[in-house]
Amino acid sequence: MAKASMRERYQLLTRDLDWQPSFVTKEELYPHTRFEGIKIHDWDAWEDPFRLTVDAYAKYQSEKDKRLYAGFDTLAQGQGHLQISDPRYLAAIKLFRQAVTPQEYNVHRHFGYIARALDGPGPRCANLFQSIDELRHAQTQTHSVSMYNKYYDGFHSPERMLQKVWYLSVSKSYFDDALSAGPFEFLTAISFSFEYFLTNLLFVPFMSGASFNGDLSVMSAGFSAQSDESRHMTLGLEVIKFILEQDEDNVPIVQGWLDKWFWRGYRFLGLVAMMQDYLLPRKVMSWQEAFELYLEQQMLEGLFPDLEYYGIRPPTGVDQAIAEKTYLSHALYWVFYQFSHAAVFTTTIPQAEELDWMSAQYPGTFDQHFRPLWEKAARMQADGNRFFVGGLPMLCQICQIPAAFPEPGNPAKIVTFHGEYGGERYNFCSQFCKSIFEREPKKYIQALLPVHQIYQGNCGGATIPEVLEWYGMTPHDSGEYTTSREAENWAKWHAPAGVMA
């Protein structure tokens, strides 16, 4: 028998392995694809642009793994960790390892569920490969930072941290929201909104940041995931077009999800804004520049005119995101700086050259509103009073970020929002987080806000040291960078040649 072509093998793997159930109804076999209200008439209309087969997939991935792991070994043997620009850079990688990598693992599990749940063989197959990709990404990211875990503080216990630490609930609540939704909302949230709409804003800055800051390990893991991410982007667009083309009634449901998941994703990416402008000692591009390129030009001007054909408009909330681009990173990092006694990474006042870079990048906002904060913090530190704010923060019920966002367009004024449901009051950071709550209040009244859980005595004790111990933190993990063990070690390791520390 002649060897089957790739296309024939894909047909055999998908369509030919599909069958019509006879002992149960199709509704009983696939019970999760109707309750969200999405109507699918023809599952065979799903076009998988890649038509991968298991053997071809395994071959590509194993070749990439061989190259990647050879690189990791070389870096570990050659003390590659000494090549980074400065250990301040590692705060970005700790945040990534705590807030993103464990979520790769969680979505791997969920794509596995989707690969079982959907009625059509094409999308089941595509989701199976994406599930394996996500597992691989969780593994390669973990291995890429394991070298740093040997020499620097704050890299330990990231999975435990994600479940417990207060600021990581921003990531936990975002992904838990998606994982607890129906399969179509999950695909809109993760495959489309996160992996297509927002992905370039997350991955490109992280990989360029690693590259510019001498982190060959994370850079290699990123590039090794790049072909997978391109595939995920294509599938994300495919999934949204498939749903929209199946039935006009799907359009308003999808629009509601796009509004919600744009805003949730954008709030989550505040992490990237801080990283680009503050956590990278060698800057790549500002958050504002990345936002304009990847979101305004590529998505709003490139993608949404195409989606207009289906009756889809840009998400609500986009205008506020645009208004925030000139100050988002500054407002957020200022909060992290003053709460870093309770974070699993260190922070410090940006150096003079960095402050000047920010003045140049943010001419309308930085000198007016944010430079004075750093100057005051520097005076306090010179007096032996490194600024850490007292108290616990009021968190937004939806995004769980401290509710300290400026009034759109006015960095000098913080605004908050509130609403009532079932006789209880709820607080929000923005009108868009409030709208998300109002759409599905029964979901979000269950949110475990870390501050409220601490005050209920559910987080190890009543004092901050007890809570930090419950998180699994050690005293070296947090606080001021310049007086940290990391900074001390770094200076020793870079002592003049001939001097052994």
């Binding site: 449901i253 908050t416 209880e424 859980q453 209920q456």
Partner: protein, 120 residues
Amino acid sequence: MGEVACTGGSYGMTEMRTLGAYDFPAADRQELFGEDQLVNVHWDDQIFVPVPACFRVPKSMKWSDFKTQMIDTWAGTDPDYRADAATDWRLDDDPIEPQPDQTIADLGIVHKGLVRFRLG
């Protein structure tokens, strides 16, 4: 897995589409705090301390104690805070004139409510 049921009659309002009955209590409802409650405080007109603080206090706590033990301790981490200059007290946007002996409950501050002030 329960019976597949669609509970959403008016999607986009306040009903969720779920696989079954979906009714859970709020994770931080008043009853979980007994005789205490949560109170948030925001310091307006400045961004050095931009985040409103959240406190757990007895409903019967006197305003004078709340002010000195909670607000002054927290805001005092900013060296420019002046305890005697805190003024223009509001519940959200509504002005209040708290008296030292009034309690949190007397002042009508609800669980998770927001007290605002500025420096005069």
